[in-house]
Symmetry: C2
Subunit: 726 residues, 2 copies
């Protein structure tokens, strides 16, 4: 092929010799630890092209990256995977602060799971500087470490009012990061909030980009977001800073998934029109539509009040929350002004209070909005009730139809789909392997049989133990992929373990335990034992842990002996502990308080404890911590229902002096539990208007709730009755 | 050779076929991931022997280990290195709780730096069970992860009254572990404190086995320690539990090194005779000789009071501390009873108060002890002053000679030496490479020149920067071995960095920075930046960090931006920061508070801050944390002298609300500092009778000391004068 180069020195020579019209072609193969600097001057008619011998056969791996600097350069077909950038960016539209890229194009490139192994070390995948650059038809999937996937930088004059086009890109799944810094696209920063970026973001497909609250963090002026599709994204397109943003003709599909959101409006002269939203469940900052309160005389980098904004002709189908004046608090006390919410259609099949005012709505003109008749709540003038039918159009969207709707609702043919975005040659298929999707393997009772079968298992396998069998682990079983362990038969098999841990969940692992007894009688006499630990090395992949119908006992040492201990830098999507028994334990059941930097990080998204019997546990049975004041994330969520706590929390080494210690938890649901002879539930409520319900609990001869912090909570039906245990 | 086997299956077959008199010979080579179970029945006359083809040429590496079970088995010549055991022990004298080793011998084996990569994951190197086993002439050096090097287990009747002999072993250097669990030898556990072990520990050489307080933790009855040499060991032979111990004819050589100790007596009927101590500096629990107070009616696993103990004919030369009644507190209120301290010789070239009574000494008979005339303190009867000369004997020991000494002092010819212990064929040489021992490399100003030179450097190298040069790091420099960076010339070179960190100290690394300016102006706007970090993965090797004559400025982000941030699982021997300037920093200078498990772990042994100028630092300039109530370790030590703090600690995200936050620090020396417009010094004083001196400090318009906890401290000469800075 044209201008074939086989290694970095040939590449560098080709670059230095390149003239307008030159083509540099990377030879097929793995380019390991290769830092490419593509610098040159093409012309509009004769750009310089960096391409690949065969699409999909040129892989940049290890510590590779790309810098683009100059004029009229095109990069086409590079794939970054199996590695990470040693610098701040995988692909950068500049070489340094002085040498930028202008009139350049990045197309059909792929960055796939190209993550720093340290979850908490930051980098970007694409940093866009200069002007008039186009980023199109690329595929970016699986960012898991700290840092925004793509940014548009405005730090020098030469990068502002840039007219970049970001279009037809496929932004593939980005899992919950568990802290700030999980945005998919950010345009500008709070330092340059008043600058105009003039960037167009058009026809991109956002596929479960769930890193944090802000799928897109718009932080500059005069940007346009058109025809983008947000598929099951937990978060919103957020107009965080900057004015005169246009959000037009986008589609938000929630499919009823938790925390899915739409558009969030802050600042002045924003326009939100012709957008289509369906099945969005998010509340508060990730509602289907959110117009926030602002800070009076706000500096540009806080919350500029909403003024002169227009929200017109948007469609909301089965969306749970539309909020005006969100974030209203002592500082954000300024309600929206001089704005309009007009011609919008709001349909919900359930009779639900979709629209909520958190502050005075009088600064917003409501007019010609249409609600379906199910909606019984009396709203201001400006909302008309109508009989609405949903009819599926040829694109597959459910379209509201009614006599009251004069202008038929349509969705642009330019709307992004999974098919018309990204490349044609790089698969968008999901490769996640789930628990219980593999083969059944039998582990015979004995020493290290579980270790051996674990070692030879494949992802998704189910390992069955013999009914009543005795198993001893003298080596920790390393859970490297999703694995299920369960006793087949009526009598729980018993697992003893001689190491500090029975199971270590490693990066990529998930664990389900069913119908098994764990006995600590053969465990070492050392502080820090735990039945299950997560890897002490950072884990990029979120894990899941299910404990169902298990028994844990005789776990007493001179200090803590926990059931689960999560290391810093590890994050669980779900930890579910149900129908299990915990007896005689000197530590905690869940030690999820290891993110102590107080920057908003935490260890688990959903923690579910139901129908468990917990007795003689010396430590705080649950420890759950999220420090700092960041508002970028959703969790942790705690559901604690129908558990019995009997003599819990009394150990002299329980530093929380509590049965349950919750700090900064965002949603707390504690109901129908019995606490007998136990220490308190401590809750420190800060940040993010946490939703806290404590309902129908019995505290017999126990300390009760101790609540600190400045947030609201509700307590109902607290009893004080002596329970009779069998 | 006899019975040569080439792999694990041949080995297993040979073992199953072995008869009395059989020899199994491991073939030369690397045996990777090999778990040997050597089980069989030999006879006294015809043992079964496991040996190697050539000594030193058979290496067990990776996840290998050895279990010995049966009768009359001899293991000879195995070397474990480059790996770690997957189980609790590298070499175990049992297969499981039922199948033990009796009348077996482990000889001329080596375990060298065979450490779990996780510093905080526990294992033992040798676990001895059964009876009548001999462990002799082995070489054990470089244990760095959690866990005692060698234990004698007494958990079943079959392992008690065992008559094991542990003799002529070389216990090579074990660095400070920084938490409990760094013992070199433990006999028994607190659970079996009242059992007799009857183990003989004879003629072993302990070479800088500095893991923690207890070099030897004797936790059972009727053990004998004879002719062992303790060379520069920071800690003591501790009679932690059990009675009727004999400590006879041992040598303790301190060479004036900090924290070196001798024998510590607890419990009943202990005999400490004929021991020789020289140059021991340790105080409190690691004095040259310590007789502790006990707990009245103590359970066996607390502190049984000293009764009926005899301390006779011991020699102390230039030892700083001999304590009676040590540990006296509300719980340990029982002074020693019915004991004697007789015929001991105490010589010190300085006029020092060597002997201290922490409680009533009337339960101890003092008689015929001899002091040199320098000693001016009036002691009870029982101490005679004499003119003592020191004369070097033919073994090289300084022997006190005096007319008052009737019986000449001698040292047994059986005393352990480096030469008569361990093997003859495995080197005992020190392989540590120190800072500044390598070549000088020049780094030119520019982008990543420092990264490149760091990458190609060798251990000990000195990297010089150009006077006044500008250096930019867009990649973090990884410090994998000892390295020095310094500007050669009068004008400090400036280092900018674009990653979250400039330098990452990795396992095996140490760092010295001299005459360099660090500027945070190009660092990312993200919480968690730090000029220097330690690896987020556990570091087995303790590191050193020296900062001398450097400047740090413009390090402001919306949250913490630190100078040094130490990760959990990393430990510094020394961090020294001197003659440097810190200005305009949003975080801390040293964030050494990441061991939050409260089990006694901490991040640094010696922290030294002298002659620094610290202004506009928003966080707590120093954060130093050691949680829990463990008494097994020495540090952290803090020396803070002659620093100026100007407007420090006022950041809203400073969770300590202090300029200096010290928690559980064991020795604090704060003198001649100026604090202007700054927050307080917070000190939480717990555990271990910390030594705290705050002297000659000026607190102008600043908060002063805030002290919590239950320990003593002294404050002298606090001023409140307005300083004039130029
Ligand atoms: Ca964010
Ligand atoms: Ca200890």
């Amino acid at each position: 092929p044209n201008g074939l180069v086989n290694d970095i020195s040939e590449f560098n020579e080709a670059v230095s010799n390149a003239q307008p019209g030159s083509v540099i072609t990377l030879a097929n193969g793995i380019w390991e630890n290769t830092e490419l600097v593509f610098q040159g001057k093409g012309t509009k008619e004769k750009p310089i092209i960096l391409t690949v011998e065969d699409k999909g056969k040129v892989i940049l791996s290890g510590t590779s990256n790309l810098q683009i600097a100059g004029e009229y350069l095109i990069v086409n077909g590079l794939v970054f995977k199996d590695g990470y950038t040693p610098t701040n960016a995988v692909i950068s539209f500049r070489k340094n602060r002085e040498e930028l890229a202008n009139n350049c194009r990045l197309t059909e490139c792929v960055i796939d799971n190209y993550n720093n192994p340290e979850r908490q070390v930051q980098d970007y995948w694409v940093t866009i500087y200069g002007k008039n650059n186009r980023i199109d038809h690329n595929h970016f999937a699986g960012k898991k470490n700290l840092g925004v996937t793509m940014i548009v930088g405005l730090d020098t004059e030469e990068s502002r009012a840039n007219n970049h086009s970001i279009d037809h890109n496929y932004f593939g799944p980005r899992p919950t990061y568990g802290n700030n810094g999980g945005e998919t696209l950010r345009i500008g920063t709070s330092h340059h909030a008043m600058e105009n970026s003039n960037t167009i973001v058009e026809s991109n497909y956002f596929d479960r980009t769930n890193g944090e609250h802000e799928i897109i963090s718009n932080k500059s002026g005069q940007n346009t977001f058109k025809y983008n599709t947000f598929f099951e994204c937990t978060g919103t397109l957020t107009m965080r800073h900057g004015n005169e943003t246009l959000v037009d003709g986008n589609v938000f599909i929630g499919n009823g998934k938790p925390s899915t959101g739409g558009v969030r409006v802050i600042n002045e002269s924003q326009t939100v029109i012709n957008n289509y939203h369906i099945g969005l469940t998010g509340y508060r900052f990730r509602g289907a539509f959110v117009m926030m309160n602002g800070v009076p005389n706000s500096p540009p980098n806080r919350y500029v009040p909403v003024i002169d904004s227009k929200v017109d002709n948007n469609t909301f189908i089965n969306c749970d929350h539309i909020l005006f004046g969100a974030g209203n608090d002592a500082e954000r006390s300024q309600a929206p002004k001089n704005s309009q919410f007009t011609n919008n259609i709001i349909y919900h099949e359930k009779d639900t209070n979709t629209i909520v005012f958190k502050d005075d709505g009088s600064g917003i003109i409501f007019k010609d909005n249409i609600l379906n008749t199910n909606s019984t709540k009396n709203l201001n003038a400006g909302f008309e009730k109508a009989d609405i039918q949903l009819i599926r159009n040829e694109q597959g969207f459910l379209i509201p139809v009614s006599e009251a709707i004069k202008e038929p609702i349509s969705i642009s043919s330019k709307i992004a789909t999974k098919e018309n975005t990204g490349t044609t040659w790089y698969s968008k298929e999901d490769q996640t392997i789930t628990l219980n999707s593999g083969h059944v393997l039998v582990a015979e009772p004995g020493i290290n049989t579980l270790y051996d079968v674990t070692k030879s298992s494949k992802p998704g396998d189910i390992i069955t133990l013999r009914s009543g069998g005795e198993y001893i682990l003298t080596k920790a079983a390393k859970v490297k992929h999703p694995l299920t362990f369960k006793t087949s038969g009526p009598n729980k098999a018993t697992i003893f373990f001689e190491r500090m841990m029975a199971f270590e969940i490693q990066d990529g692992g998930s664990l389900s335990l069913e119908n098994i007894a764990f006995n600590g009688a053969k465990s070492p006499d050392y502080a820090g034992n735990s039945v299950i630990v997560t890897s002490k090395n950072s884990m990029l992949n979120n894990y899941k842990l299910f404990i169902e119908d298990c028994e844990f006992k005789n776990m007493v040492v001179n200090h803590s002996f926990d059931v689960l201990r999560a290391a810093k830098g590890t994050f669980a999507d779900t930890i579910s502990i149900q129908n299990s028994t915990f007896k005689n334990i000197s530590g905690s059941i869940t030690a999820l308080d290891n993110e102590t930097d107080d920057i908003g990080a935490y260890n688990v998204e959903y923690l579910i404890m139901k129908n468990n019997s917990i007795s003689d546990v010396q430590g705080a049975a649950l420890r759950l911590y999220r420090g700092g004041k960041d508002e970028s994330t959703f969790g942790p969520f705690l559901e604690m229902e129908h558990n019995v706590f009997d003599h819990v929390g009394y150990g002299s080494k329980n530093k929380y002096k509590a049965t349950v210690s919750l700090y900064g938890v965002q949603e707390i649901d504690i109901k129908n539990n019995i606490f007998k002879d136990s220490k308190a539930i401590n809750m420190h409520l800060v940040v993010g208007e946490p939703i806290v319900k404590v309902l129908n609990n019995n505290f017999y001869n126990s300390e009760k709730l101790i609540v600190t912090g400045d947030q609201k909570y509700s307590v109902e039906n607290t009893w004080d009755l002596e329970p009779k245990f069998k």
